[in-house]
Symmetry: C2
Subunit: 270 residues, 2 copies
């Protein structure tokens, strides 16, 4: 009985040796989450040793590293958690051991950006979440979007992903681009609407706190019943008098006025 239990454990929780390349927000959250799930983080690479050390300090026994020669590394999976624009160059430069899997964590970059690397296999391990260094995050709620051409590699990435998250998806590069655009609207742009709201209130010397219950209620309702049904306000009512009045109010910033006009029109049209 004890033996069979042990056997299940070995099957269901495959442990990996992993190197993290990068020291940003994703690396800061991902490295301890992987270690907590029982994997070993062999090395953390950063251009700056201090930054790499800040992440290894959060881990049990991991080496900070500033050179890209990983030929002697024990790791099987190498996770590139760096800025989009640096991926291609770093992937080309890194020296990897035999049978290594190299993945990146970007929502915007295709799989083949890793195509000229020395890795035996390549893949994508994209956490669909906004990370901030120093802020607590429950990784089990972070959707992980996976891609790999090799089926055995994809299975390994799935096991790795499922060991830290309850939400894993296999997604083609083409779909991942759509998801990234959708995420920009849902996250960056909705946040910017709040930013504009803050600015309007500040300009008038008003307390932005009075806006918070409305935002919380709107977003909760939107996620619960869908954004189409949740919509309210002058545009959906086609209240052109108020729209015109608001447009005139925004005269102090023509860019804002144009954003107001365009989004209102799109609400009316859709």
């Amino acid at each position: 009985m004890a033996f069979s239990f042990w056997g299940n454990c070995v099957n269901s929780v495959m442990k990996f040796k992993i190197a993290i390349i990068g020291t940003g927000n994703v690396a800061w959250h991902l490295a301890p989450a992987l270690e907590n799930a029982g994997h070993v983080i062999t090395e953390v690479y950063g251009r700056d040793l201090d930054r790499a050390s800040k992440i290894t300090a959060r881990l049990y026994a991991s080496e900070p590293k500033i050179d890209l020669d990983f030929s002697e590394s024990q790791a099987q999976i190498f996770i590139l958690a760096i800025k989009d624009e640096a991926i291609s160059e770093l992937a080309d430069a890194i020296i990897l051991p035999e049978e290594s899997i190299l993945v990146h964590t970007s929502g915007a970059q295709p799989l083949d950006v890793l195509g000229y690397s020395s890795a035996s296999y390549i893949g994508i391990f994209y956490p669909l979440q906004s990370f901030t260094t120093g802020q607590k995050m429950d990784f089990s709620e972070v959707p992980l979007l996976l891609e790999a051409e090799d089926q055995a590699v994809l299975q390994k990435l799935q096991k790795l992903a499922k060991s830290i998250s309850n939400q894993t998806y296999i997604v083609r590069s083409k779909d991942r681009k759509a998801i990234h655009v959708a995420a920009v609207f849902a996250s960056n742009f909705s946040n910017h609407m709040i930013r504009i709201s803050e600015e309007i209130m500040r300009r008038q010397g008003l307390d932005f706190d009075m806006m918070k219950p409305l935002i919380i209620e709107t977003i909760s309702k939107s996620l619960q019943i869908g954004a189409k049904k949740a919509q309210t306000g002058p545009a959906i009512r086609e209240d052109y008098e108020t729209l015109e009045d608001h447009f005139r109010f925004l005269n102090f910033n023509p860019e804002l006025a144009e954003i107001y006009r365009l989004i209102s029109q799109d609400i009316i049209d859709s």
Copy 2:
């Protein structure tokens, strides 16, 4: 001791007799909240008796009413909770008793829209929240924005507001317009960004659920540390390659592409 306690009660919780004019989302939530606070809802007016009865059915002893002759009403405060475009006409038509206070609940309409009514005093009682009939709402968390020219009337409105909400603000019409524009950005427009995100995912046959943790995290962070600090994504990074790529992806809908371009530009500029 009992006497002094009773005295405090009378001073701190002034009870009003109130008539509600309107049968929409605001009336549906506001009428029971007022009654729960100890006020008496004398009548509920609707053009349609069935709709008025649906609200009086939620109250202890209130009359549904389809005519605008309130000359015999016991109410002291008359709350117009109707569509913006109907306020002026209804305010002109309603027949009110002596010493009556007439208020509207709109964020967009000025005080003087009630200027030609038969009311002795006029004011504004604007709940800054998005209401949906049938959905539970804690009124104590709803910010109430008040306005009146007469100081004694303003004090009465404040007592009324404080009896149902922890957040009451005295706001001039000019500021109320700014607040309404700010609310459109923070609520209607952020919701529309989620709507666009839903559409992009649906078009690609992808599960929108994977987007929800990101939205929740983004908005929480935004309200906690401010939207400027909370911003992430290709625009704030000035990652023009990704911006260009997303813009091209949105070719299928030029209006969306233009919204993408304009908001991204505003994020870069601000």
